[in-house]
Symmetry: C4
Subunit: 206 residues, 4 copies
């Protein structure tokens, strides 16, 4: 299995998943109150779209950063990659369920946010497993230097830690969970890869 | 992040978004009056399909023209690209909402056209930001010569100006807004890149 | 615009369109009679799926055969390609409408088959225009020899001629139209590109 | 037809099909009982998602292993590949029908599982035909050595044999069919390509 085709297939799946997110924006339509009221009532769908869109976008960026440095694609990596995509593909489902129940309110809004956080957590675990695979002897073209591994591991785990915290918080207030999951996306957009690491990667840039 | 993978991912997202547009063509089906009447009543869906299809097509062409000239893909460009795709992915939603309300008529047809114009405007702003990024020192393989930057900027802004104008016009008559948004697409299909610019690009053609 | 990205984008659009065809296979589901009866009543959906699937598949093969021989991608070719994709993307809509009305029967089954044939005809015209563009002086890496152009033109037109014939035939019996449109797909699967032409193309194989 | 574009198109179709699987996870939504009860009642959809997701994933891996070793892409291979994709694209339909009837129970659960097994069987036959094509004289860059062909053929047929067995078993208990179809996926994830074969392939890795 070549690295190029692993990337192409993953890109395809991620691109379809991110585009399907927008299906959930659909409003009830004519005969269900004024359009402005519908837009207002539907706000969880728009916020959920933003959070899920940028989170999937960040997965894509980080996925690429890991894979392009891989020496040989073996069955373990393929399986871990499929495991990651299993969760990515489930994000539109988790997003629409959560947005729907946040709109309708009631006790199940809590449950729907737990589902959302669990899917993100599953994705985070899959990504962490892929990342650990790349750290193993002989798996990377340019291994991450030992003194930087800790920094990169901490950086990678921030999402996972927040997604775990979002699960109990959903029982208190689902909006807090949504806010911190969204904050993770904002963090990863602005966060910089350590300069030393980027330099060590520079010659595998294609 | 390599330029090639940025293009491949963006191509995937744009290809899915343009294909999802056709889901909105679906007619009510058997038991809702004669098929010819349904086709006739459904005309806004067909016109909206044409306008959105060619607009997304033009975004794709212009996206490629900008990206293939980029020297190094940094986090800012990735973020701007995600911001552009956020709006592109929302176009099928805006298209179907607008077509539905244009079909049903009433006051909300105006509001639905505003939503449509706002999404196109968001896309235009995202594209303009990406374009300004490419003009910055050291970002392009073949920088646009200073004497041509004005021409290219004006050319790029035509869409944005029209989409802004389409918002107030939607309150007067939504069909006028749709007509001028469609006219932008026709303009960009027939408009030629300045000859000097194309020549300066020639050696980055791949 | 590079040939490679034109191909990649077109591949993406065609791949999504061919996959969306299957959405139309969905049965009414539990509570609508026995599953075997539903499958039997739904036969037009399965036949329509086969015909549309292989027709789109053939478009993809022929698209590639034309494009890989193109010297320079200009705005005219881009526009013709968008025009082709406009019809390809509409095929799932035409397929589901036709299958639905063939299932429900009545006068509108004729009309729905006309829509189906018109969409295929539109696609055929777009493809013919693209083909004529490639025949023009300086557009192909390996121009088709003058003595073979006639053969290739005739071969290309068979679909277009049949799709035109399918329109009036739909008023007599829509199943005859469907049968001959399906026969076109079978013809192109087994038909061989003239040996001389393939040889002249051989060195642009990538 | 180049090998690269055959792969790119197949990747696109497989990526869309695998992502569409998740559309079937959608729950009835607010007003249909508690969300936890809905999740519980909906378990066949989640199990079916897992089985279909990993099966399509394995098809993709095996597809790549076959195609990258192909010397020349001819019309026969293209047709066999289209035949394979025809079944892959139908998997989301078969999956959602099966999950829906397993949820609602009754006699038609058996029938829906037969449909599911038949689609997987169709896919298996298509893959076996493609595989036999690659074994023919002159079709592969690195032909599989005669002494390994038997091993590889047996390995390839395991899925096909199980899918055939799943058809009669569906009449006894559809869950047994689902379990053994799922077991095939698990088998192929952990099963290793014979070491000798991998070595002989090594120099066509791209």
């Amino acid at each position: 299995m070549s690295r190029a085709r692993l990337e192409a297939f993953s890109d395809g799946v991620i691109a379809v998943a991110i585009t399907l997110l927008a299906l959930n924006l659909a409003l009830p339509g004519p005969g269900h109150g004024s359009l402005l009221t519908q837009l207002g009532d539907h706000w969880p769908a728009f916020v959920a779209y933003l959070v899920s869109f940028f989170t999937i976008g960040i997965i894509w960026v980080n996925h690429h950063e890991r894979i392009r440095n891989v020496k040989v694609v073996d069955r373990t990596l393929l399986f871990l990659n499929m495991f990651l995509l299993l969760w990515v593909v489930a994000i539109p489902f988790a997003t629409s369920t959560m947005a729907e129940y946040l709109t309708s309110g009631g006790q199940d809004a809590h449950v729907s946010m737990v589902i959302y956080a669990v899917v993100f957590q599953g994705m985070g675990i899959a990504f962490a497993l892929m990342f650990e695979w790349t750290l193993q002897e002989g798996h990377s073209v340019h291994p991450i230097p030992a003194d930087l591994q800790r920094t990169v591991r901490v950086r990678s785990s921030i999402g996972a830690v927040v997604y775990i915290a979002a699960i109990p918080l959903a029982f208190i207030n689902p909006l807090i969970s949504l806010a911190i999951i969204g904050a993770v996306a904002v963090y990863y957009i602005f966060e910089q890869t350590p300069r030393e690491l980027r330099r060590s990667h520079h010659d595998v840039e294609d």
